[in-house]
Symmetry: C2
Subunit: 324 residues, 2 copies
DNA sequence: GGCAATGATGAACAAATGTGTAGATATATG
DNA sequence: CATATATCTACACATTTGTTCATCATTGCC
């Protein structure tokens, strides 16, 4: 059907640029229900190009999916957890089939929740992790007035696909908020350096902000070789072993906790550059979002330690927490 | 793993019933990204069944799609309209390809908008139409405290798939709001009956509520045989002709307006049981959502008459309004 | 109880979507 | 300026999704 007039696909520009076309394609596909081929024709692109644009849109949160319902079991579990742990609002998502799906699912629920609570003038503290990262795809981009975002952890030294600072930055960008980082490594070389850095004016200021948060969003990490912290070799394997030996079951903002939520006595805990658990405990609206069976113990520990106002987790973990 | 114990697929009940499984399927498909076949296997259903469950979820708004961006042109048009008509917030959605897509698209944008403005304790007035109906699929179901919903139009006498009262009811149900209807036909048999009904205690009360709205959502209807009002034969064809003869270009809550937004002098306008344009004009947060080229004139008329705070329309109509 | 009407179901087919790969084109680099 | 590198494109193929239709269960009705 394409005569001899041109071999390169011409763009039937509607007036917009690249990004514009992506949005148009997403709209036609998800709202209007056209097929990718129809869209390709209308936009003057190849079908594969449209396919990839749509994938990008899903990937970067331009297209968002929301499930506007909960299963009976999830509601029941949420209520059990609220009663059992004195949590104001426990959100439980259906058990993901694949283990890898847990972060996506909890991230989705977290994003949805944030859409309902964020508002002008808030100061929001952010932890870090796959789960929080996944939530970005579900947060509605809006222009808030006077919103401030504070990263609660130092930066990674190793370059990574996704660092605490980048997460905070993207979050702030989405909501048109000011953004503050801790300009220091998350694990200092030694306790002395940590103490020194804590007295640095820039870091002191961010820590002061962290002490005045309206809302904080944190998750926990487990202590298995599969956890993000170790997979990306942010900590060497030896530390993992000695942390376990010291009784740690996981971390909250890189503070390693034992099964009752008490920070363990270990050198690493004296090298961490991040908001302290006590600071977090005082945040009026604290959201803890994490899940997966590996994290059950540390979830329990973090709940005891933090007494969060909101808990977001998956069905399996919720069952575990309800049974403990 | 499936012995000879049964030939009908057993349900691996996670504990829930029909609806529960739909929600689970939606999570697995849209959030986790499993294929329909994988879901079918896990839930112990046929793939076709899963396919249908997912379609239902899309249909009834259990699954919602959101496009989290707007094209440059739409943004620009929105700004033009805001300046041109003194509208606080003009939202323009990309031009749908198919004419039928307009209501869906505007409904989607309306739903998204409502999600950001609805809050506890509001009293919300509702008009009626395909567009408003479509928005239901995009409104996030939440439990609001002390929300009240008021239908601004009388009921249909002919049974229809979708009446003003049913719309208000579904809207209220979604948000856990109290719901008030006008228990009277939208077009009274004659002006005298109308006046009589207006003095009826129940109707008077609802009208009084309509005069104290925080937010109202209305759309307009055109005066062609394709318009909902005539397609469902709520008015006979003869009235259509005489209304046009009287200079009407469309209706706002069944009040028929001329091209400058002035209600025409016609008997029908003295028989309407609905909130009056003047009442609407005084609503502090008035949202007008409509589009499609047929409605251009009546849109213009309604904007002049109402001076709405928010306008939601499609790209083509926005172009028209900007050019007028 | 028997019998149509209605609605649900899944097998088979048709259509659409997604992926790997090889070649083309831009962009950086010596 | 040639070459290396990354990025984009299109084709062919694999997989997934959607539709149709004959069949089977269920319901209301005589």
């Amino acid at each position: 059907m394409d005569g001899a007039e041109s071999r390169r696909p011409r763009r039937r520009d509607h007036g917009g640029g690249e990004a514009d076309q992506r949005v148009r394609a997403a709209w036609m596909y998800y709202i209007e229900g056209l097929t990718q081929e129809e869209i390709a024709e209308r936009l003057g692109l190849s079908r594969v190009r449209v396919l990839r644009m749509l994938a990008e849109c899903r990937e970067d949160g331009t297209v968002q999916f929301r499930i506007n319902a909960r299963t009976a079991n999830c509601i029941a579990l949420g209520q059990t957890l609220e009663a059992r742990y004195g949590i104001a609002h426990a959100i439980v998502v259906p058990a993901p089939v694949a283990e890898a799906g847990v972060t996506e699912a909890i991230g989705a629920a977290l994003g949805d929740y944030l859409n309902t609570v964020l508002c002008d003038g808030m100061t929001v503290g952010l932890g870090w992790g796959q789960t929080l990262r996944a939530s970005l795809k579900h947060v509605v981009s809006r222009k808030f007035d006077g919103m401030t975002v504070v990263s609660l952890l130092g930066a990674l030294t190793r370059a990574s696909a996704f660092s605490p600072s980048e997460f905070a930055w993207r979050f702030a960008d989405l909501l048109d908020a000011d953004c503050y980082f801790l300009a220091a490594p998350v694990i200092a070389p030694d306790p002395m350096t940590r103490d020194l850095l804590f007295r640095h004016a820039g870091i002191e200021e961010v820590m002061a902000r962290a002490a005045r948060l309206d809302l904080a969003i944190v998750s926990v990490g487990d202590l298995t070789p599969e956890s993000t912290l170790f997979r990306y070799a942010m900590l060497p394997e030896v530390d993992l072993q000695s942390l376990i030996a010291a009784g740690a079951v996981g971390d909250l903002l890189c503070n390693f906790l034992d099964e009752n939520g008490v920070p363990v006595d270990h050198e690493i805990n004296r090298r961490v550059i991040a908001a302290s658990p006590e600071t977090m405990r005082r945040v009026p609206h604290l959201v803890l979002a994490s899940g997966g069976w590996r994290k059950l113990k540390v979830m329990y520990a973090a709940i005891r330690l933090l007494a969060p106002r909101v808990l977001i987790t998956d069905e399996a973990t919720a069952e575990g927490l309800a049974a403990l």
